[in-house]
């Protein structure tokens, strides 16, 4: 009898835990409020940006700010929506944390090398695309890997980043290859250097940044997918989304976009600046 009560106790505790966690999920949260109204009131837009990705969003340890193409575009859009004194606040996100952080209202929008995909569109809304990326491969100079076709052999290990769309793509283009998912790009690069895989795959923009930091490595094979980057906004925030799209159009029209593009990609070897400019 004693035993039975003890087991019942354990089951009861698990049940309580489940109820508690479910209650957390369904609580009416910040995300239900209107983002645009809140941002206008506080004169601040909170953006989720990457902090480990050269060229797009990289933490500058000297002054503790995040710098890059994404961060500059976010600042430009903020100024268009809130006026000259509008403040853009940056919160560091990863591929894994960005959607949960957006959903629970910690950030207003994600501008973090995020590809627009149909699966993600079920969870969040996207602005129109602000950068046309494509998936490519980074390999050690002199590697026998020349394109994605060379990866399609049993036993080939390819390095990707958890939560990135590129991992799913590799499974489609090179189904025989084994994909190792690491938690961020810095770790993925370290794994490539120590020979845990023969190639690192993700969007070309990110790979160019890595190649410029690591001279022994090069981007090969061109792009084999189209990966338009978009700004992700919570569902039901249509007024805010409209403002973001409008601001994006304006910075493309007045040359701000091209200036930012040139600032970050003007000197990157192999990057076609002309084609990407708008």
């Amino acid at each position: 009898m004693k035993k039975v009560t003890r087991y019942l106790g354990v089951i009861g505790m698990l049940g309580l835990l489940t109820v508690f966690l479910t209650a957390c999920g369904s609580r009416k949260s910040l995300s239900q409020q209107d983002v645009l109204t809140n941002d206008r009131a506080s004169n601040t837009i909170t953006w989720g940006v990457k902090a480990d990705t050269k060229l797009f969003g990289l933490m500058d340890v000297k002054d503790n700010t995040i710098k890059g193409f994404d961060a500059d575009i976010a600042t430009a859009i903020t100024k268009k929506i809130l006026g000259k004194n509008g403040k853009a606040k940056f919160v560091q996100v990863t591929s894994q944390t960005r959607i949960p952080l957006l959903k629970n209202g910690n950030i207003d929008a994600i501008i973090a090398t995020m590809t627009i995909t149909p699966e993600r569109e079920k969870q969040v809304d996207f602005s129109s695309s602000y950068f046309d990326a494509g998936q490519s491969l980074l390999v050690k100079k002199g590697s026998s890997i020349k394109s994605v076709k060379d990866l399609n052999q049993a036993g080939t290990k390819v390095i990707g980043v958890t939560g990135a769309n590129s991992v799913a793509n590799i499974k489609k283009f090179a189904p025989k290859a084994k994909v190792l998912e690491l938690s961020d790009y810095a770790q993925a690069m370290t794994a490539l250097k120590s020979g845990q895989g023969v190639a690192l795959t993700t969007d070309n923009g990110i790979l160019y940044g890595m190649a410029s930091q690591n001279p022994g490595y090069e981007v090969v094979g061109g792009t084999f997918t189209k990966e338009p980057y978009g700004i992700a906004i919570n569902k039901g925030q249509d007024p805010f989304k409209k403002e973001v799209n409008q601001a994006l159009k304006e910075i493309e029209a007045d040359g701000t976009y091209n200036r930012i593009l040139k600032k970050w990609f003007g000197n990157v070897a192999g990057f076609d600046y002309k084609e990407a400019s708008r």
């Binding site: 966690l21 894994q96 993600r120 958890t162 190792l180 938690s183 370290t190 250097k193 120590s194 020979g195």
Partner: protein, 212 residues
Amino acid sequence: MWYILTHYWSELIQGLGYTLLSSVIALFFSTIIGTMFAIFEVLPNRAMRIIGRIYIELFRNIPLLVIAMFFYVIIPMYVAKIDGFTAGTIGLTIYTSSFIAETVRAGIQSVDKGQMEGARSNGLTYWQAMRYIVLPQAFKIVIPPLGNQFINLVKNSSVLAFVAGFDLMYQGNSIASLSLDTINSYMVVGVFYLIITLPLSYYMRHLEKRLA
């Protein structure tokens, strides 16, 4: 939760398998290595005691993640090609063994000195006395803290996720990012860990009762 369970069943089972395999290997070797260093620490020989101390203090005081990354990144560069699973399991074994060494040492020292002296005066060698008289009593005393270490070991095996070791946590991260359902993905992973740790916990309790 049900959706995650049915859609990612094969990934979860694979993760459970790797976590179990890594835990069993690490549990076996860390117990042996830990006991060895515990004996080093109580030997009359001063040099051996110092070796034991250095090993324990070194690996007890470095984060497990750092040890695992060392084996994942540095060793393949200069010594031998090892994959994430091997690197993580080696790291886990070394890390846990330093804690087990401290636990077992406490057990050995809590066995009355008279036991060793009595055994020696009855003609047993130092090693025979250690093996047949002191260690069995020491292990009986340290079963509860040892159980703690074993449970920690299973949970610490989640370090494999950071070195692409295909364990439960790795699959959890992957499922969370594929399904975009973070809360339920990690809840399922938590339940799968319970499947390993709860029986282990009950077994240690059972051992404690039987031997006490």
